[in-house]
Symmetry: C2
Subunit: 319 residues, 2 copies
């Protein structure tokens, strides 16, 4: 009799990931999950990968790594106006990864399940001779045809962002020892994005995306996709008290650094009141930082006098 004893990966899944499984996940005991799509809704799907040493630091607490993996994907859904539903995840880890790492990673995810109303649908665990490599595919839903897309902005639309810009980029500098922040706020913003889930922008924003690779670069994407120029008022960009405390030498890092996970939107003037109402309802602040207009696609950064400012670096490339 060959005893069907279980290889270590099954024990790992049972201990740490089965408690995260939601409806349709079949307790992670099957090859696949099943899902009944919400009736009358369109699905919105996105996937992001995170690699140790590239997207997070190898000694980052594992619960924050798990939450960041989930939240960067939630942020993409938020920028589309989608309601998050569930996700699939693959994790590739070195054999020497201690059990406590998985426990912490799963605990972080569990905390965010409660916060964002999502559950785990399925996935895969495997070993790697390299750094920890994570991938997450999230599924959300919107009313049919209502997903906010990158395309749709028009000349005259205002440029709006949620929250504050630059905290994540400055937090990375804190983690690298290049900047100090006694409050711990910036480091936490780097390690733990706050996806703007719940801001009801469908039917309000004419275009949108989340700011992950730097405000100027990401705004440039919207310009290019829509054939529009953007006047960005540098002094209107919302900064946290901690980012302001870092001083003007760090402003460029704020505008180009990435890891913001705020929502960047084009909003027609006629819908500004609706945006402000949605902002109030969700408790998510929004700020107007400029205007789209006709012209050669690109971002013109202006100082308070309307003069253009030059930047050394536009944004962050993953390559």
């Amino acid at each position: 009799m060959t005893n069907p004893s279980l290889p270590p990966e099954f024990s790992l899944i049972a201990r740490h990931f089965r408690p995260l499984a939601g409806p349709g996940a079949l307790e992670l005991r099957d090859d696949a999950a099943v899902m009944t799509p919400p009736p009358g809704r369109e699905l919105v799907l996105t996937a992001d990968a995170m690699v140790a040493g590239v997207h997070f630091l190898p000694d980052d607490p594992p619960d924050l790594v798990g939450r960041k993996l989930l939240r960067v994907n939630l942020s993409d859904l938020a920028a589309k106006g989608a309601v998050p539903l569930s996700y699939l995840m693959t994790i590739s880890t070195p054999r020497a990864t201690p059990d406590s790492w998985y426990a912490g990673f799963a605990a972080g995810l569990a905390a965010d399940h409660a916060e964002y109303g999502v559950t785990l649908l399925g996935g895969d665990t495997t070993s790697t001779p390299g750094p920890i490599s994570l991938s997450l595919t999230i599924i959300g839903h919107v009313a049919p045809g209502q997903a906010v897309r990158r395309i749709g902005a028009r000349a005259g639309d205002g440029i709006w962002v949620t929250g504050t810009i630059g905290d994540g980029a400055l937090g990375l500098q804190v983690a690298l020892g290049k900047l100090t922040d006694p409050t711990g706020f910036l480091l936490e913003r780097y390690r733990l994005p706050r996806p703007r889930v719940g801001l009801a922008i469908c039917g309000i924003a004419s275009a949108g995306m989340d700011v992950s690779d730097g405000l100027v670069q990401d705004l440039g994407h919207i310009c290019r996709e829509n054939g529009l120029a953007a006047d960005l008022d540098a002094t209107a960009v919302p900064l946290s008290a901690q980012a302001r405390a870092a001083g003007p030498d760090w402003l460029e890092t704020c505008l180009t650094g990435g890891d913001d996970y705020e929502v960047l939107m084009a909003v027609p003037p006629t819908r500004e009141a609706a945006l402000l109402a949605a902002s109030h309802a969700a408790g998510i602040p929004v700020t107007r930082i400029g205007t789209f207009h006709s012209g050669t696609p690109g971002v013109m950064l202006r100082d308070p006098g309307g003069e253009s400012l030059a930047l050394k670096k536009v944004g962050w490339s993953h390559f």
Copy 2:
């Protein structure tokens, strides 16, 4: 004016992956994809990761790597009786990866789009200091409640498999130089699984999974999940001519080696005729290799005289 020039990852996506994008992918120009679920159908979702040096060899041709990544996921859908629809994919590659690798990888995927009727919905590309790490999440659909699950087998059900068992495991040995196969068949079976998409097993198989970690181990999973014992007739297990040519010393490798990507099913005797009809319709051979019965969960491997056989190794663990 800050020119919104594109970082290398965008050019990579545009050149190699945009041509793979299907309906709802928004040409991979957005943060997320949209999908209208097929009306009245239930979705079936699964994700698998593949890492160079673990799941494929670093010098495997990139087109075959792409196809294998897609096909191992298609195989999971096939084992659930699901019709494939589309997929999201994340790829993490070393910076030195040549453009020709991406071109080959995408060409392999494109070939399989035509063969299996799937398209790319979205994903992410990123760099890694480690080996190439790939993750793919695939979406298929079935009639509501009809997905074939691992749970559902009953005592008296026959044990059936599609195709032939052991070719992939022997192909790996060929790749490693430990076995010769002048026909090239075994190596191709290792590098290019043939997922059994199209075998209409919903309503026929009482349980099913694909064989990826070794027939004996995977059958053990079905035993454990259903609280059943399995009598597996070693001589009934279908072997290719090339596997038979390798000789009896390789039989254990065939039964335990993995990388088969065939469908393993429990089929009640009353539905055998329906299975054979489905097999004929799809052009996918099926073979009965044993019987489930009541007893301590586990796999009893029997020789032609009904005597039990012992194995040195049960199957393949990814850890």
